[in-house]
Subunit: 490 residues, 2 copies
């Protein structure tokens, strides 16, 4: 009998954890807070990475690689950065082990103590700007447009697979510019790249916005973000793009000579998305039967399962499927034919449902006879029997439909769960139900903190396209120029 899984309605958080295992995406390792990303999960991440990488290159960026280790003193160079990042991190203090004298294994050799401890990078601004210092003399050396795909470590106390892990994979862009305007334009451009990726590949609608001072990146003058709504109504910050002003240039003394020979500090940005996107993807679309994947990110877009009793039937169906495989391949559609004789069709159906394969083709002897096949959509679980002739075109269209349906469905869900609210009393009652709350706020950190303390909700962002409208703060009654988005968040 199939294992019984908890439903979203029963326990959303448990449903998520079970799903990550059920779809074979990742698992906890024995190393505290670190995960193992399993082949199927990694295949989805690879697709994300490859698509983003093309977009980064199209916008003029190159990849490079900087050291994993950051000397402790670097972190202290940018005052607010050290407060944000130097606290919970992995510290390398020694560089050698030796055999224990009692033969019990290996122990740290006390003679190998490092003069200065090394921090496993929680983010790379400091080590990168320490290099840029040597790369930049004049305006001719600018802009520098570099991205890095890397692992980073933040010593999280409470971890969840993909959403918050001690080690995670990400990309971090680090750019250097001659002018403030150019750096701001870069910050905005990369936010657009992220938003485009989220909507058109992940089928996940996002709100582009600006973080309040409280939620800003440690060391940034301005943090832009994309915020998504999960199926439990919680917000998830899916990507950030930071305008760093001249903060890191000043911390690392990076100046350039302009055309007139005048020296000025360099302007900077940084921007990143991580394996957290995997968590966002899962929680945006999946259902009680398992993972639901948008076709653009599915490692297997179409799976076919033969239904047969005799070897002759199998051979005839297999021949048809080889034909289909060829036609789909020509269209760039990934296809798996699962003729494993050790598993029954019903088992296979459940398996690929769990794994979120967008389209399933089944063919039995009667279908074969009639020149038909049964097609099942993963997104809305509808089935239809269609002609085998031209099936590849039908599937191609179906994949496009599924991709747009997932986005539309997520958009509709977000709309249903977004509301304006003007009373703080009502806000306190409603916030636990989840969703985005558009409310007036007086613009002070004090009020923001009070709301956070009293409700656990935070200002997710000030939407870039928000309507400017005069109002009064729902808490203090002070004037406000427009609504901001409150929500509980991952």
């Amino acid at each position: 009998m199939a294992q019984k899984y908890v439903t979203r309605a029963e326990d959303y958080s448990k449903w998520y954890n079970e799903l990550v295992y059920r779809a074979d995406l990742a698992e906890h390792s024995d190393v505290r807070g670190c995960m193992v990303i399993k082949p199927y999960g990694y295949a989805i991440w690879e697709k994300m990475r490859d698509i983003l990488d093309v977009k980064f290159k199209e916008t003029g960026h190159s990849n490079a690689y900087f050291p994993l280790f950051i000397p402790k003193s670097y972190l202290s160079k940018e005052a607010s950065h050290v407060d944000g990042f130097a606290k919970e991190c992995a510290v390398v203090t020694h560089y050698r082990l030796k055999n224990a004298e009692d033969g019990s294994g290996v122990v740290v050799d006390p003679d190998s103590k490092l003069e200065e401890e090394l921090i496993v990078r929680p983010t790379s601004e400091t080590i990168i700007w320490n290099s840029y210092k040597n790369w930049i003399q004049s305006y001719r050396d600018l802009p520098i447009l570099i991205n890095q795909w890397a692992n980073v470590v933040r010593w999280e106390m409470k971890t969840r697979l993909f959403l918050r892990t001690t080690e995670f994979l990400w990309q971090e862009g680090h750019t250097a510019h001659a002018t403030k305007a150019e750096a701001i334009a870069e910050t905005e451009q990369m936010l657009d790249v992220y938003a485009d990726f989220a909507e058109n590949y992940m089928a996940m609608p996002v709100i582009k916005g600006r973080k309040t001072a409280n939620e800003r990146f440690a060391g940034a003058d301005d943090t832009l973000c994309i915020e998504a709504m999960m199926q439990d109504g919680k917000a998830l910050q899916a990507g950030t793009s930071h305008f760093l002003g001249q903060n890191f240039a000043k911390a690392f003394e990076v100046k350039f000579a302009d055309k007139e020979g005048k020296l000025d500090y360099v302007w900077a940005t940084s921007w990143g998305v991580s394996t957290r996107l995997m968590g966002a993807l899962i929680m945006t679309h999946s259902d009680d039967e398992g993972l639901v994947l948008p076709p653009a990110l599915a490692p297997i877009q179409v799976v076919a399962v033969p239904i047969y009793r005799t070897d002759e039937e199998l051979a005839a169906i297999s021949e048809k499927m080889a034909e289909l495989s060829k036609k789909l391949k020509a269209k760039g559609i990934s296809f798996k034919y699962d003729d494993d004789e050790n598993r029954r069709p019903g088992w296979k159906f459940a398996e690929y449902e769990s794994k979120g394969v967008p389209v399933r083709v089944a063919m039995g002897p009667r279908d074969l006879e009639n020149g038909k096949a049964e097609i099942a959509r993963r997104d809305n679980k509808t089935k239809e029997v269609v002609d085998f002739d031209g099936l590849e075109n039908h599937i191609e269209q179906l994949l496009a439909d599924i991709q747009s349906n997932l986005l539309a469905r997520a958009k509709a869900f977000r709309l249903e769960n977004t509301r304006e609210i003007d009373s703080y009393d009502e806000f306190k009652k409603e916030i636990d139900k989840g969703g985005f709350f558009l409310a007036h706020w007086d613009g002070t950190s004090e009020t923001e903190e009070r709301i956070k303390e009293e409700t656990k909700a935070t200002i997710r962002c000030i939407a870039l396209d928000r309507k400017e409208e005069a109002g009064v703060c729902m808490v203090t009654g002070k004037p406000s120029a427009g609504r901001v988005i409150f929500a509980k968040a991952y």
Copy 2:
């Protein structure tokens, strides 16, 4: 005036270091032994990675990702592995920093000491087999064919860019099999993948061989390798593929039930290549003018430089080059047109020569008038004036010629610098001149060690295709079944 660089003949080692900087491939970071891989160097590594990744997938492997950190005790589980790897490594002992009481910055928080230290992975057999333990119950779970692209850290005392760095990038395949024969076949298959890549993409001839017990991977029953000869006659181990027997399965208690339900330990392999290949690539082909790249790995395969005095001339040449760009792109050939007006053609010629761009196209007003272009090959520095019509075909052929010429040249060099030797006295005199020495050896570790001590030469490998021939050890006079390859090595 152009900077004067040292030549290979003057100082091979210094030539290498200068070249890595000159071609803008990588640089030392301020973190001891760690390098920064710069965009141009990383672009070459990306090409290597992408080509290998396709080959790994074609041979049935999937990518996954395992934790960066390994609990100290894991390393001790496989006895010879711990001796090989647990010694010089980065040890994480704490997980928090705090503000120093004297306000001088941040210090390690003594309260954050880890119960068990974590080692930054020097290689991942232990952490991976600790996972496989939970993934494998029966023969149905086998084989597991996984590869990981990752950074690893080995605390090297003496480092050189790409060749030996504290942190480096690599891939590590880790497979699990039901039978010894299958694991051995996998070990051999991956060696073939590496050899094919080295010869057909890097244009670097390699000898496939077997390591002696002394040079075997710590924890392997058998280590296969590919060995290449650098231009100074030294050997470079470019890749290894290990048959691990049941050693790690035993260390981590990984058993599987076969079809009859009988329990046995799982058989294993691991195999890897690293950013060290960048060093091998550089030292196989490059010359005193800079980097020489095989077209298959060149980020820019063709560069074009306009030579002009008037804006009209530039416009006319640019139009032609746009045409060429389109035609080359259609053939999948990467092309850069450098019309930067701040640099003179001579500067550009030197720059792209330094960077190893295989083909350079130059066009001036007279070429334009005559329907010609000047083509320069980077590999042999010949130039010719050819018709602009059909230039894309000419270039396509030229790139193929360069690719095969580089391999042929490197093969000829190796042949010239490989000799049989029977006298140990002569060996001691000749070994410093560099090259591969084919000598009889009595098969004992003692003799091998004595030779290493007295000459610094090691047995690079026992070639898989060596001729079996009876002989006597050049040192001890004891019987030998065939010659082995001695050389000094990187």
